[in-house]
Amino acid sequence: MKSKRQQSDLIIVGAGPAGLAAAAAAAENGLSVTIIDEFPEPGGRMLGQFHEERGHWWVGKRIADELIEKNRAQGVLIRCGVSVYGMLKVDDMWEVSTSHGTMLAPRVLLATGAAEIPMPANGWTLPGVMSIGAAQVMTNVHYVKPGKRGIIVGVNVLAMAIARELSVSGVSLASIVLPPSGPFAGKAALPKENLQLLMSLSHLAPSPILRFGGKIANALGLAGIVSSLFPRSGIKLWDIPLKLRTKVVSINGTDRVESVTLADVNGQGEIIAGSEREEAVDFVALAGGLYPLAELASIAGCPFIYTPELGGHLPLHSERMKTPVEGLYVAGNITGVESALVAMAQGQLAATSICSDAGIFGHNGESKVAAAIEEVHRVRASALIQFHPGIPEARRKIYRMWQETFGAGV
């Protein structure tokens, strides 16, 4: 470890949508900003994201490039390939321990994003089994296909969005099936719950979700959401069969994935005897959903709250992105799993909050923060991809809890 110490007004951990948006805004208002990210290039998960929206492609990489350019123009220092492993407050200064030495700043913004929830299945340690995000990163960021033919296990918003990306990128997918039932999958292994989830997304016109939501509605008619009506052969989404009555039983192979064993299930998710069969694949993408990546907030001494709608345990924070720990702020998916656009608006808000607390806006601080909060609401309300129904209400609950604990206006 080198022992050089560098000081800035603000250290941001995470060069994704929230971190980059926050850095540009803070630097524009005169703060010296350093962004740290352990990935070799900035952009976060935006680097591999794209979806079709009102007839054109929304491409995360382009948004990332614009933000990176803005940051370079403002003189923001972006340090990639650097890992943060510790944070300690000494007097009024955060000492941020990294793989490249200690960095100092009076204020730190954690914009670390989210991680994937691991989803164990029989045989999941075989080479060729990966998280669905890994398939996305290999394909869209590194331009290497995850395999010749794969299967997606797990039905959720992330799985659907990435299935679409993979199919557009020319990756061959056998089908999307349910995870094995057990303590890890919970309701995710039940056909009815998955169908309801998909139906609940179908109002999100004109997102990619609409297309399959609408297709499901068509396939079922308006008769009702009854999983036993779902065709056993599945329905096709962009040529990928979505099979809500099929689950994976095991992943097979000696030193790498060679096949999966699938079985049909009844409405309760129980395997129908004799329906087991093998399907040849050379990779398996497990989609367990996302949770806020918040270890650093914990290290920094921030209290946590459990909010399932937002992805699980997350650092307690106010609506202005402040935590109860002096000089520690959060923005983006660490505060709850939402889309990149919401993360960017939250980054803007966090930067406004930080500048206001640093006294840069004088008496205008509160009104600027209020405007940035409004902007987050606006972006959230117009977001096409919702990771979970009930996000706005869950957020209101957190902010109420904050006010009750720390008093109004903090």
């Binding site: 492609w57 080479p127 995000g133 995850p146 990128s169």
Partner: protein
């Protein structure tokens, strides 16, 4: 596995410099700066290490540095996460090895 040269939505990658590296003593080709794990996947290598205790084959899992499954050794760097470590020309890469377990003495299947 197949490399995507011209991505239908994202286009081509600019200025990629082909380089060579060594994996388990075998010469391999890749691009400078891409993660070691990506170069190995492109070369059809799925096994990045043998499990330290059981010796079972393991590969990459999350590809963004969270899970530590893709750890292997690079001469001069020690054990690294291959999904985050940029490939360099002439790099000597070794799959992660099973370790002796005389201390625990556990017998594994």
């Amino acid at each position: 596995m197949e490399r995507i040269q011209d991505h239908p939505i994202l286009g081509r990658k600019t200025l990629r410099e082909p380089i060579s590296f060594i994996f388990n003593g075998k010469p391999m080709a890749g691009y400078r700066g891409e993660p070691i794990a990506a170069a190995l996947l492109a070369a059809g290598v799925r096994t990045l290490r043998k499990h330290e205790e059981s010796g079972n084959s393991r590969g990459l899992y999350c590809a963004i540095g969270h899970c530590m499954e893709c750890r292997l050794s690079v001469k001069g760097k020690g054990i690294v996460r291959s999904c985050l470590t940029p490939l360099e020309d002439g790099m000597k890469v070794f799959e992660g090895q099973q370790l002796p377990n005389e201390i625990t003495g556990r017998l594994l299947p």
